[in-house]
Amino acid sequence: MKIHLTINGKNYSHDVEPRLLLIHYLRENAALTGSHVGCETSLCGACTIELDGKAVKSCTMFAVQADGAKITTIEGLANDGKLHGVQEAFWNEHGLQCGFCTPGMIMASKQIIDRNHAPSDAEIRHGLEGNLCRCTGYQHIVNAVKAAAAAAGK
């Protein structure tokens, strides 16, 4: 089936099998390997991308369902070499160690801030329930989201 997508502002069009998962489409057809495959069972959130403004797990969606959609992946956040505010905050606040969970964490964090300009710690933790990190113990990630929200509000 032929699908057309806009990913990070660029048009993509491919003939795909209906059973192709969106994460594999992004990594293998569109050659955007920033979104990671962690569990492939909808639990870890490493594959989180933004689809028409909503954070979704791209391992739990078929590419054909996204036909016509606007997608943003981690590669699409920085602008002209300047990091997005959430990326900047993860860097400053040590919101990552190995970095495996980070692309998904950042996309989920962006969703939190897009929907709530001044999230509390509890709201941040609620918003990150779909993302697992095996390194940081989460506190630095929560700090990063808070810092990013504060910076965006200025």
Binding site: M1, E17, P18, R19, L21, E40, T41, S42, L43, G45, T48, K54, A55, V56, K57, C59, T60, M61, F62, V64, Q65, D67, A108, Q111, I112, H126, G127, E129, G130, N131
Partner: protein
């Protein structure tokens, strides 16, 4: 993890979808239950009908004292809708307790209801709200109560080729609360209790308690409801009523919780839900 191959159709009208479902195809809504099952090959449908592009299935509106919610309204749409939050807060609170934000962005009310997972959250609220579920088949619409709709684990009254079209909940002014014990990995309810309480003149005039996660199918704890009605709703009254919630139930047992532990949780969380609901009742 690749599912078996299948054909895929994404109709834009309800009539087209009903025709395809009548021909043996399977509905795909948010995919949050179906796609994981297909990846594990617990389900291998030959033809999927994506309901995601049918605009006439995606709405939340108020009509003659009730909220009508289209099958493809997402959990996020329900949790964030000003209409649901003000006129049926129990449903909004329950939607916000489902899984995680990515799941709520995709998963739908109709899909959750049709799937009838014994640990799903919505059924508790729908039982307590005495919701109605409108089904669409080749022969047209029929409406069933939540109590009739949920039959057993993953089993509902839906016939072959029939689909969930909308869910109807009352505009609700009672004090409400949804309390769940989430399974730590998935977030599903090991036990979930939805409570509604109305008070007048210092007495409980109406109590409704919906239970999920405890047994194969959600249910209304009518013995506990009756025990509470007519009392002052004191801590002792609540405790007495809550003690009845799991009585005689054939509780589920799995690696997360034994049957006895689930029953214990049901009693404790019914108490908590009733205390919170009582606090919010006028």
């Amino acid at each position: 993890m690749f599912p078996q191959t299948f054909d895929y159709t994404a109709p834009t009208t309800l009539d087209e979808a009903v025709k395809l479902l009548g021909g043996g195809a399977k509905a795909l809504a948010g995919g949050m239950s179906l796609i994981p099952m297909m990846k594990l090959r617990l389900a291998s449908p030959e033809h999927l009908v994506d309901l995601g592009r049918i605009k006439e299935l995606n709405y939340i509106r108020e009509e003659s004292g009730a909220l009508h919610i289209g099958a493809t309204a997402t959990h996020y749409a329900v949790e964030s809708s000003p209409l649901v939050r003000t006129k049926c807060p129990l449903l909004a609170e329950t939607a916000a307790a489902i899984g995680d934000v990515q799941v709520r962005n995709m998963g739908t009310l109709g899909g959750a209801v049709a799937h009838a997972d014994p640990s799903a959250d919505y059924p508790a609220a729908l039982q307590a709200l005495e919701a109605k579920i409108v089904l669409r088949g080749a022969g047209g619409d029929r409406t069933v109560s939540a109590a009739e709709f949920f039959v057993d684990a993953f089993t509902t009254v839906l016939n072959e080729g029939e689909m969930v079209r909308e869910v109807i909940v009352p505009v609700d002014t009672s004090g409400v609360s949804y309390q769940k014990v989430p399974q730590p990995a998935s977030g599903f309810a090991m036990v979930g209790i939805a409570a509604r309480v109305k008070k007048a003149g210092g007495k409980v005039t109406e109590a409704r308690i919906g239970v999920t996660g405890l047994t194969n199918s959600s249910f209304r704890a009518t013995a506990a409801e009756k025990a509470l009605e007519g009392t002052n709703g004191s801590a002792a009254d609540i405790q007495k009523a809550a003690a009845l919630v799991a009585q005689g139930s054939d509780a589920n047992s799995d690696i997360h919780a034994s049957a006895d532990y689930r029953k214990h949780l049901a009693v404790v969380y019914t108490g908590r839900a009733l205390i919170a609901a009582m606090g919010r009742a006028q």
